[in-house]
């Protein structure tokens, strides 16, 4: 047993309203710099859609993540030899058009244009070349005005859907979609760490945050290829790669990351999970069908005395153990089992879990009439607006049983709460829902509370950062308080 602590996250997709406040908060703090304009460490995608960068989930193009190789795993995009051979030209990287060419507008023209017959306009100006440009695409094109049919048809998660299901989605695309906010998953088996030829990427010991050492980065950009979520970005201005750092300076001072703090729908939860690092290899290389179940096994019960003992021996602080026992992530992921990792088939063991959206169909058009009557208040899980297989491709490596189980639990909570608050449901219906899912009334109430009425301190249980205290032993932090910020301490130079 090698027990370590990991700061993990849960995003509740039923609550996401797609407002992009998270993206803007993140951009304002971290990526509002030259060379970083195109980076969205946090972005919100519209599903079905191709996402950002376009079709990032299509690993036949981008070669991200791991593939099983015997008893172990190997990177899909590279091994030692091909890293060496492709060192000076990494062939599988996204192009600028796969992200988008960042731009601003020539606002001054609105004021300074000479008098004329036409209204002056603010033309888009490329932030890369500084020249006027035609906008081809943007960071959230699926949602903006990209014409979703064009893009949604290319959604990678459509594979394995029957033609009928596919057809249904394209009929329904006008009335259903959901949002998928994404940040770095701070994976247990991070592909970016494994791919870096300079050894610049590391996973912090005390909280598992994956960071790029800006002094060691040599811009080989292997992490850009290796990360299947495409959450490592190359700064073309200073020649270093950058990625989400889970706002560790905020975490170290007890604040929630900016994207989570600002979240309007309050969909985000953050807390500590304890895991057994000795089992990473075994679980990452297990059979694809077992991936989700086995990943759940790696997280250990923070209330178990033996686990606590082993964690203490491994240097996990008591304060971290305490916050692990209060972790909302533990509840969503393990206790209730209603949060799933995104694309577990990439075998990186991501630590960002999603509560899948319950999208019940409450009406359908049949024979030209808008039909709202159904046998029960909500249609069955089977008649969800998004096909089970599509959800399964996103969250369970194609296993529809698992996603059905989770959605049934969510439905059971709704049925139970409807019974409690309105009382118009047959009690048998509620009992049957509990029997099918193994929930009980207390648990359903707890899920409801943490989903709908959580307090700030219940959503974010941030462990004390002892790193800060350790620093205080060595230097007077008051001297530099307010003087440091994000940037490049040692300016990178090309020799």
């Amino acid at each position: 047993m090698d027990i370590r602590s990991q700061i993990a996250m849960v995003f509740h997709l039923d609550k996401c309203i797609g407002c992009h406040t998270c993206s803007i908060a993140c951009k304002n703090i971290w990526t509002d710099r030259k060379g970083a304009e195109y980076m969205w460490w946090n972005n919100v995608e519209t599903k079905p859609g191709t996402g950002y960068p376009n079709k990032w989930e299509d690993q036949s193009v981008y070669k991200g993540g791991w593939i099983k190789s015997g008893d172990s795993v190997q990177l899909k995009g590279m091994d030692r030899k091909s890293t060496m051979a492709n060192l000076f030209h990494n062939p599988h990287m996204p192009l600028m058009d796969d992200y988008y060419e960042p731009w601003t507008y020539d606002y001054a023209n609105l004021f300074e244009a000479p008098a004329g017959d036409d209204q002056p306009t603010a033309r888009p100006i490329s932030l890369v070349t500084g020249e006027p440009m035609d906008i081809k695409t943007g960071p959230n094109w699926d949602d903006d005005l990209g014409g979703s049919p064009d893009y949604a048809r290319q959604d990678v998660n459509m594979h394995d859907l029957t033609p009928a299901e596919r057809e249904a989605m394209f009929q329904l695309e006008r009335m259903t979609m959901f949002y998928l906010p994404r940040i770095c998953n701070h994976c247990l088996n991070a592909a970016c760490v494994a791919a870096c030829p300079s050894g610049a990427i590391y996973k912090r010991g005390e909280d598992g945050i994956v960071l790029i050492n800006q002094n060691k980065c040599r811009s080989w950009r292997m992490c850009v290829t290796a990360c299947p979520y495409k959450k490592s970005y190359y700064n073309w201005n200073n020649g270093k790669s950058e990625k989400c750092l889970l706002c560790y300076p905020r975490l170290e001072t007890g604040q929630a990351p900016a994207c989570m703090h600002t979240c309007v729908g309050r969909i985000r939860y953050l807390g500590v999970l304890l895991y057994d690092a000795d089992r990473i290899k075994e679980i990452a290389s297990c059979d694809e069908k077992e991936l989700v179940a086995k990943q759940m096994d790696i997280y250990l019960d923070p209330f178990d005395e033996l686990v606590q003992q082993a964690a203490r021996e491994n240097g996990v602080a008591d304060s971290t153990l305490e916050s692990a026992s209060k972790s909302p992530v533990w509840k969503f992921v393990k206790e209730w089992g209603i949060a799933l990792p995104l694309h577990p088939e990439y075998r990186t063991m991501p630590n960002l879990f999603y509560v899948p959206p319950l999208l019940p169909a409450i009406a359908d058009t049949s024979g030209g009439t808008y039909e709202t009557t159904s046998a029960s208040l909500w249609g069955g899980i089977e008649s969800s607006r998004v096909p089970m297989q599509y959800m399964a491709n996103l969250f369970t490596a194609g296993d529809t049983m698992k996603i059905r189980e989770v959605l049934k639990k969510l439905m059971a909570v709704r049925i139970h709460r409807r019974g409690v608050t309105v009382g118009d449901l047959n009690e048998d219906e509620c009992k049957q829902a509990f029997a099918e899912t193994g929930l009980d009334a207390d648990m359903a109430d707890a899920i409801f509370r943490l989903t709908s009425l959580p307090k700030f301190n219940e959503r974010f249980v941030i462990p004390d950062a002892h790193r800060e205290e350790a620093t205080e032993l060595l230097e007077n932090t008051a001297d530099i308080k307010g003087n440091t910020g994000f940037g490049t301490i040692n300016t990178p130079q090309r020799i």
């Binding site: 191709t50 376009n54 079709k55 299509d58 193009v61 981008y62 030209h89 062939p91 599988h92 990287m93 996204p94 192009l95 600028m96 058009d97 796969d98 035609d134 081809k136 695409t137 064009d150 893009y151 290319q154």
Partner: protein
């Protein structure tokens, strides 16, 4: 009186040393290229040279033949032409040593022969050449631990391998002939070579093998056998380059060349016009 005695003793010593060393100095400095009454080798036969030419001119010429030829002296130019403008290395030594050498040549007397008397390599076999090649390249060591020739010299019929510190030896045989090669190898007149081999002289067998090898090299050059090596190498080089470029172009095509939504962008741009 004492001073006079010392002066005469000194003169005697100088003369004695001159007589004593003339033969030795001649052997070290001149015998590689010249004979006295033995016919022409690399340079002319020196028998009777002191009778035919003025001693002052001779001294000047030996000290630095290149300058004399450059100055346009007709006799010097004629000699240069006769011997393919192969310049005699400048004499490095004191004036008394030089006069000792001239005295020695003078004492031998005789008359010059213009016949080329070189039978040295007539009995060389293929084995000699093979052994010589091994010695040249350092594949088999010299008995007295001399440095292999390839350290400083190159011959170009083996793909141009060899040092560039000293002259290439492609045409050495035609310049020196067998006797010259032998003399060069036995007691090299060039300072660097004399230093290198002074304490590590080559034995007779080694000298013979090396000379045989160098002769074969020179003959190969004349027979045009080197072209055999150069042309294939050129073809191989160009061909190899073309193949590498083709392979790289092939690999280059495997990269991700356009954005995944290229078709959509292209269609949009097309409809804009």
């Amino acid at each position: 009186m004492q001073r006079v005695t010392i002066f005469f003793t000194f003169c005697f010593l100088v003369l004695y040393v001159g007589a004593q060393d003339g033969a030795d100095l001649y052997k070290r400095n001149c015998a590689a290229c010249h004979s006295i009454g033995g016919g022409r080798l690399v340079g002319p036969d020196l028998a009777g040279i002191t009778k035919r030419t003025d001693k002052a001119w001779l001294t000047k010429f030996i000290k630095n033949s290149a300058d004399v030829i450059k100055s346009g002296d007709p006799a010097a130019v004629a000699i240069g032409k006769e011997y393919n403008n192969l310049l005699m290395p400048p004499f490095v030594g004191t004036d008394s040593e030089l006069s000792a050498i001239i005295m020695y040549i003078d004492s031998k007397g005789g008359s010059a022969s213009s016949a080329v008397a070189d039978t040295f390599l007539n009995s060389a076999t293929f084995d000699n050449i093979v052994r010589g090649k091994a010695l040249f390249a350092g594949n088999s060591p010299f008995k007295n631990a001399g440095t292999p020739c390839i350290t400083c010299h190159a011959v170009h019929n083996d793909g141009g391998v060899g040092g560039t510190l000293a002259k290439g030896l492609n045409l050495s045989y035609f310049m020196l002939k067998g006797q010259g090669l032998k003399a060069m190898l036995q007691s090299p007149p060039f300072p660097a070579m004399a230093n290198a081999y002074g304490n590590h002289p080559l034995n007779e067998q080694e000298v013979y093998d090396l000379a045989a090898y160098l002769k074969s090299v020179s003959q190969d050059m004349v027979d045009g056998k080197t072209d055999r090596a150069t042309v294939p190498f050129l073809v191989l080089g160009i061909g190899g380059w073309c193949i590498s470029v083709l392979i790289l172009l092939g690999l280059w095509r495997l990269r991700k060349r356009s954005s995944v939504n290229h078709d959509i962008f292209a269609r949009q741009l097309a409809t804009e016009k």
